[in-house]
Amino acid sequence: MQDARLRLICTVLLSLAAFHSIIGAALVYLWWLIFSRRRASFPSSPWTAGIVLLTLGLTALLTEFTGGDGVSYFFRLSAVFLIAFWAYREREPGELLAVGTALFGRGLGFDVGLAGEMGMEALASLETDVARTRMALQLKGKQWGRKALVPFALTVLHGQMRRSTERAALLAIRGYRGGGSICLEFRPDAAGYSATFLAGMVFIFSFVPLGDVFI
């Protein structure tokens, strides 16, 4: 899906649908099978998906043993994260800025878009930082473990802070004081419209019982 606006609408609708009901989550899985790039829609690092699944699993177990519906929680939240991973992998640099400005204008919209863009860039660079720092540890013959955790965390933290400082300086140099303009360019396509229409249907079916819709 090339149009960032349609992708944002799909992400919001599908996340709400998956979180709201089991039926919604099941339909979201089905939607994902049709419109995602399957394996290419997962995080590039298997560790990220693993940590998310582990956290969800532990929380679900805890919920199940304390009287809640842990299985339902796991099923629904997994669908939410599946859509989050898909949205993250589909994004292209600069499109959050465009969407923010298109939705909320050159003032607040630009600022919200810029904040989102910087957050996404930080996430992407964090992925690289973690991978490279692990490689560097390996090159020094150091084992990945408890002892390596402190230097590892310091390196990653330092990298993020340095990047934030550089970005802030760059914005200041360019005279940024709030708001701004951007040449908007979206590329809507038939597949994008179909995916959004079906995401809308999934959203409706997750809130309204199927019988009520078709009778």
């Binding site: 930082d129 490279r132 090159l139 020094k140 230097p151 310091l154 390196t155 330092h158 990298g159």
Partner: protein, 234 residues
């Protein structure tokens, strides 16, 4: 001793990098535009990335290391002394060589990017490696430090050194040239024969070639010598 890339390919999304060739002992220079796949090839050579197909065959190569463009990735010591020692290097000798003798007890992150890069490269170069892969070793260094690094690389005895860079002004004398373009790694051959085929040659070298000079290597000194030889010949 050699590193052989046998029908090597690496694919990520729509990007594919392919390489076939042999990196023998000596100094190799790999150039290409930003995002052309230089770092990917560096990681593949150092066995830090698994190829999609083909293989990297290390023959007679036991000790391998790689230097990332960002020296921060390598930091594991709480002090400059501990950091140099973490490579197995002599901290006093390394600190003395890079002008950080008075800062041995400082936090490595308190150093400037350039100082940290110097410390990292000096620590690496003080050790002996069969395969030394350097990804953008000249970044963050000033002209003086770039010249120092060039000398250190030229004086490195034995082993295979592969430099990945888009540095266009200060380069060491090398043995072999490679180019990464359009996802393909091209073996241009040994220097000086490879020089006329080098598309990413720095401007001073391109101008020299356009003037009909035939330098023995790729450094500015080689151009000056070729020019002097040309004048003497005239």
């Amino acid at each position: 001793m050699q590193v052989a890339c046998e029908s090597l390919t690496f694919t990520r999304g729509e990007f594919t990098l392919s390489c076939t060739g042999i990196f023998g002992p000596g100094l190799h220079l790999v150039t290409g535009r930003v995002g052309s796949g230089k770092t990917t090839l560096a990681l593949l050579l150092a066995d830090l990335l698994h190829p999609s197909s083909g293989r990297v065959c290390l023959e007679g190569v036991e000790r391998v290391t790689l230097s990332f463009q960002n020296p921060e990735y390598h930091v594991t010591g709480a002090t400059v002394r501990a950091e140099a020692a973490s490579y197995g290097a002599d901290p006093d000798a390394v600190a003395d060589a890079v002008g950080l003798s008075g800062r041995l007890d400082d936090d490595p992150f308190a150093l400037s990017r350039g100082e940290l890069k110097r410390l990292h490269l000096a620590s690496l170069l003080s050790m002996s490696y069969d395969l030394l892969v350097l990804d953008e070793p000249f970044s963050s260094l000033d002209c003086v430090q770039k010249h120092r690094l060039c000398r250190a690389l030229e004086e490195r005895g034995g082993g295979i050194t592969v430099i990945f860079t888009h540095e266009r002004q200060i380069l060491p004398a090398v043995d072999h040239l490679w180019e990464v373009e359009g996802g393909t790694v091209r073996d241009l051959g040994a220097v000086p024969g490879a020089i006329p085929h080098w598309r990413h040659a720095p401007p001073y070298l391109k101008q020299a070639l356009a003037r009909g000079l035939a330098p023995h290597n790729i450094t500015l000194k080689d151009i000056i010598e070729a020019e002097a030889a040309c004048k003497t010949h005239d």
